[in-house]
Symmetry: C4
Subunit: 208 residues, 4 copies
Amino acid sequence: MQESYNKINTTSINPKRIETLVDGVFAIALTLLVLGITVPSIANPTETILYQSLLGLLPNFYGYFISFFLLAVFWRINHTQFNKIKRADDVMLWLVILWLVFVALVPFSAYFIGEYGNYQIPNIFFDLNLFAIGILLFLNWRHAVNSGLVDESAIKRRKSDLMANLMLPILSVIAIGVTFLPFLKEYGYGWSSIVYLAIPFFKHFIDS
Amino acid sequence: MQESYNKINTTSINPKRIETLVDGVFAIALTLLVLGITVPSIANPTETILYQSLLGLLPNFYGYFISFFLLAVFWRINHTQFNKIKRADDVMLWLVILWLVFVALVPFSAYFIGEYGNYQIPNIFFDLNLFAIGILLFLNWRHAVNSGLVDESAIKRRKSDLMANLMLPILSVIAIGVTFLPFLKEYGYGWSSIVYLAIPFFKHFIDS
Amino acid sequence: MQESYNKINTTSINPKRIETLVDGVFAIALTLLVLGITVPSIANPTETILYQSLLGLLPNFYGYFISFFLLAVFWRINHTQFNKIKRADDVMLWLVILWLVFVALVPFSAYFIGEYGNYQIPNIFFDLNLFAIGILLFLNWRHAVNSGLVDESAIKRRKSDLMANLMLPILSVIAIGVTFLPFLKEYGYGWSSIVYLAIPFFKHFIDS
Amino acid sequence: MQESYNKINTTSINPKRIETLVDGVFAIALTLLVLGITVPSIANPTETILYQSLLGLLPNFYGYFISFFLLAVFWRINHTQFNKIKRADDVMLWLVILWLVFVALVPFSAYFIGEYGNYQIPNIFFDLNLFAIGILLFLNWRHAVNSGLVDESAIKRRKSDLMANLMLPILSVIAIGVTFLPFLKEYGYGWSSIVYLAIPFFKHFIDS
């Protein structure tokens, strides 16, 4: 099937315009995250009440920062992938669009853990969202390499790249597992997202 | 009238900048869809209540996914059209802008079927919105072909293309018709949008 | 003062990146307009109630369409201006940014007449917003022509262009005047925006 | 560490695509500011009540205008910096992303001072947000100059540039200090943001 796709479509899909859509969706998703931090409605505000309401928004700020950071990581990986992709086909287009479905869903997931971050369900939902993003990024890269859409010089590194691209989905699975740790209920399920702070240690992965 | 337009304006409208506006509106409309899935306000949340509230959001998630998919299909067709369009005139500009009016309306339609998807009125509204998008896409292509704004090599396929571009509006009309089926009331009017799942079977149309 | 600006800055401001910002703000403002049409919250929905609530949204739809159309007109004029502008300076940059302040304000004005379109205050507010956009567009063009930022071949038409650019602000003033007509209170102040339908008749202006 | 980064990554990060993300986030943040001015819900509107409710929105309009202006200033400085930056590395990418975290936070800060502009806490929060934006812009420029990512011809001015880039964060600190002036409580803390009107007087800084 891929072969027939390539024959018909390689000339009609411009990777540059896919990049433009991706950059647009990311820029908007990143900026919409801020709507998860709503200014509190206070009938009789005082300095103390305003200060306390800011403290009460700390989980929302946490959800904002961690989601912004993770979206940026995914944008960075996409950026690196598309630097090596010379042609696009329809399978890639629809993998990217399915990927954007979950990228654009992140603001909801971020609002969700911002509101109920101490519960297990929202954290699992957040992790599943990231898992879907990570796995689709992996599938897109695998398709690009297998269908010869990638620049020749990048091919030789393909095996290590494929493994590397699996790191993020694996982290999501670990984060889900962590929410089942018995002591986490006491400390708050929000701590499970600390797993993602391991990402900078996989620098090679992100840089690959 | 078209002739005078062409004489005056062909040099002054750059198809690239129309593409930029189109890509911008699509990226934002796609990302705004997520605002149709609002985090529920729960006074005394428990894991069970949070899980059930997520289940209660299933229609909203459905509206999100189907609208994201359909907007992507329209973006893809526009993409294919503009690959063949070499010049733009004012008629095309205003057809595209009228088209964007209905593209940018999709988030509202999606929220509407997300909230009241089991009723007929919202489903018809959604279908009419898609019908308007599809028919304007058809009119734009017809204008482009008739006014010689299209790349020569693409002209020979114009008849089949015109027919193909009518497939989407026809699907919308069928979807409206389906909402009048007597047994649909029992199963829920939301099922009428299943008609759009026929789109991938018209691959040639989208690829054309 | 303009001279010193030119000396220092002409090389450092790229009109293309101003265009990018303008296109971004327009795409978002256009798409945000739809948030002025909110899905009604209905406790016990029926088909009749949903139909009536849609009818009740007609003023919001009107505000959506007229604002979308007017923003597109302004985008079109900006498009035409920047086709002729070869260089940018700081005065132009800040005129454009002040212009964008009022462009990005249009969603608020549109929501305002969508909610209270039958009152005089919101209609005057809407007209003043458009007046500010129109007059800044005029000032920007005047500055570009006077400071030699415009392509030579466009200079000769500058006088008629300047007059033409005044048409939109004049229409806004007329629309404000119309709201004071004694019989308008009975028919609803929303009719005052009918003045803007005269724009297509000034095709030369928009095409210039 | 910077050295190893440069070796591995200089070819893989395109400053143009960073610019695209920056422009996208700015365009959206600028346009989202308007959502801080919400159309009032009035049960029994009259012209007088609508006029008074507009007057009641004056602090929100003020927050809108000052934030729009300040974001535009930051966008302008970034614009000037990136005109001189020829290559990007990962440190720069993450400095820019951290910078965007605070840029995208501005709508929240603007809504906050729009609602409670007469209190000290929101004004300090707003100033701290701007301080973070300003200091990260400074750090990014310092990194670019020190790591040789900047165009040669711009290097010679680097010392004065570094000083100039510190002006904005210093203004934020002054604005915070002003909120502690004893008489400001009487006049309203919102006046503290008047400090930022000094920016046009540091034209050389913004133009550098």
